[in-house]
């Protein structure tokens, strides 16, 4: 139980601070901590494979893409220029978020949740592989296609229109 509390702390605090910070790089780095906390949750819950996947994908790949995007879109104007509608947006966001939080908390706390008789046996990588290849083959293929399409789509979107590279590009 203390483990879960620590994980919650490591996950929620950096996420909340990240969402409030001005500096996008700091936000991204803090979110990496938050994602690592989620990976720790997976590990705590016994989904070892998932924890490593989370670290590999989020800390290894998505954070890199985010940081790269931040660096590529550096603001020439001052970062902290407060737009007139910012305060209103923030207030509205906070209100809506708070409302959703209240509803969710109320719902969770008022629902008697049945607990499985025995805690889950950690799923082995082998079992996971068998599951993927037998029952969820179609889903696996679809995800593969999705990733490929996303890769190509991202390249097409981000590629600049002009083809003026350096002359001796090779």
């Amino acid at each position: 139980m203390t483990g879960l509390l620590i994980i919650a702390l490591v996950t929620l605090v950096p996420a909340a601070v990240a969402m409030a910070l001005r500096n996008v790089i700091h936000s991204a780095l803090l979110l990496i901590l938050s994602w690592a906390g989620i990976a720790a949750f997976y590990f705590w819950a016994g989904a070892e494979f998932l924890a490593f996947s989370q670290v590999l994908v989020y800390v290894g790949a998505i954070s890199m893409v985010v940081l790269f995007a931040v660096l590529l879109t550096r603001h020439t104007r001052t970062d902290g220029g407060v737009a007139p509608d910012t305060l209103g947006r923030a207030l509205a966001g906070l209100l809506i978020g708070g409302a959703v939080l209240g509803v969710l908390f109320g719902a969770v706390l008022s629902t008697p949740l049945p607990i499985g008789s025995k805690p889950a046996a950690a799923v082995t990588v082998h079992g996971l592989g068998v599951e993927l290849m037998e029952r969820h083959t179609i889903a696996l293929l679809v995800v593969g296609v999705l990733l490929t399409v996303a890769l190509l789509g991202a390249v097409v979107l981000a590629a600049s229109d002009s083809r003026s590279g350096p002359e001796d590009a090779r």
Partner: protein, 407 residues
């Protein structure tokens, strides 16, 4: 925790005492403590052993590298400090420790401090799953290979932190290069060992080593490197590992001639030494990974040499790979950024994908014997060589008779 059985891997009685003594030592020391603390003490001993041994390897490696690079350039290398310059690492360490620690005024102080610490921590984390000997696995994980690369992926993040926190345009450029390099080379690195996992049927390091036990014809070890697809995968892994560990010829993030020292520009003293250490630890860890995946781990190369303890074989293979890394560093010039990404995306990734097919073919035809065995080898070699030649032609098109306009 799942890690428990790994920490207490029992030494089987069949091994010689020479083979078992590290485990026996650890168990004996842990035995002095009450039972609830035993796993903690056992882990601490493992951690201390890793840090001490690989700290020593790091120190020796810095000297070895300088000596080898000297020999590559027909120089004797450092030979002033102590006999044959053997005390050079100590002198370097003292120098690094006594240097002033400078932090730029406009730097992001916290990140500037965190970057080297995080880098070193992540690179030491990768040692946790490498089997250094028959029973010497610090952490026996079911998804050990995944763990290794998850921990390794975080190192480039630390490089980014260093580059960004320094508030230096060279550092920032280095950080962006590091990111681009990671994104480019993570893919071939991961793809290169997928065939191994396919054929071995496991993500566990010990499982992969167990699959490489035995000998063909009684003397050729059944290591994965001695198969056509395994050799190709090893080559791809080697190139990608060089890039992942920021070693020359892929040391663009710290290209001295262009970026001063890249992300290290604003670091001095012991923080600089930490970066250095982390780089070498990363190199050692990736070498250990390559040994496990392709070179049969701690297994002896010939049947009659099995009496030598397994950890010595691991050490010998590690030394060989490190020498290869240094040799490569002394030979090849640095790539340009566009060449680097082109090599990854247009050559290594397709090659690794083709190699996946080759491995599938190999796995499907495992029942072939007699003359069919020859055909299996022939087809597999063709499946490796033909894409290599074709892709290589595509990669080097327009390069071959090179004209230097400004020379």
């Amino acid at each position: 925790m799942n890690a428990m059985p790994g920490i207490f891997a029992a030494a089987t009685g069949a091994d010689s005492l020479l083979e078992r003594w590290p485990i026996l030592f650890r168990d004996t020391v842990a035995g002095f403590f009450p039972a609830p603390l035993q796993w903690l003490v056992g882990s601490l001993i493992s951690i201390l052993a890793i840090v001490a041994i690989f700290g020593g390897v790091f120190a020796a490696l810095t000297l070895l590298e300088r000596k080898m690079l000297g020999r590559v350039q027909n120089r004797p290398g450092p030979n002033r400090t102590g006999p044959f310059g053997l005390l050079q690492p100590i002198a370097d360490g003292i120098k690094m420790l006594t240097k002033e620690d400078i932090v730029p005024r406009s730097a992001d102080h916290l990140l500037h401090f965190l970057a080297p610490v995080a880098l070193l921590a992540f690179s030491i984390l990768t040692f946790a799953v490498i089997p250094f000997g028959r029973n010497l696995v610090p952490l026996e994980l079911d998804a050990a290979v995944l763990y290794f690369f998850a921990a390794g992926a975080a190192t480039e993040l630390a490089i980014f932190m260093a580059g960004w926190a320094s508030r230096n345009k060279f550092s920032l450029l280095a950080a962006m290069r590091a990111l681009a390099q990671l994104i480019s080379y993570e893919l071939p690195l991961l793809l290169s060992f997928v065939p191994i996992i396919m054929l071995a049927g496991t993500l566990s390091m010990t499982g992969i080593i167990d699959q490489q036990a035995g000998w063909n014809f009684g003397f050729i070890p059944k290591w994965y490197i001695f198969t056509p697809w395994g050799f190709a995968a090893f080559a791809i892994f080697l190139v990608a590992a060089l890039a992942e560990s920021n070693r020359s010829p892929f040391d663009l993030p710290e290209a001295e001639s262009e970026l001063i020292a890249g992300h290290l520009t604003e670091y001095s003293g012991f923080k600089y030494a930490l970066f250095f250490m982390a780089e070498y630890f990363g190199m050692i860890a990736l070498s250990g990974m390559a040994i496990t995946l392709f070179l049969g781990g701690w297994r002896a190369p010939l049947p009659f040499l099995e009496f030598i303890p397994s950890y010595l074989w691991f050490g010998a293979k590690l030394l060989g790979l490190l020498l290869l890394f240094i040799w490569i560093r002394g030979t090849f010039p640095r790539l340009r950024m566009d060449q680097l990404t082109r090599l990854a995306w247009k050559f290594l990734v397709p090659l690794a994908l083709f190699n996946l097919g080759t491995a599938a073919f190999w796995s499907l035809t495992s029942g072939w014997s007699g003359p069919l065995q020859l055909a299996r080898w022939g087809v597999a070699i063709a499946l490796v060589v033909v894409p290599f030649v074709l892709l290589g032609r595509g990669l080097s098109r327009g390069v071959a008779p090179r004209t230097y306009r400004f020379a």
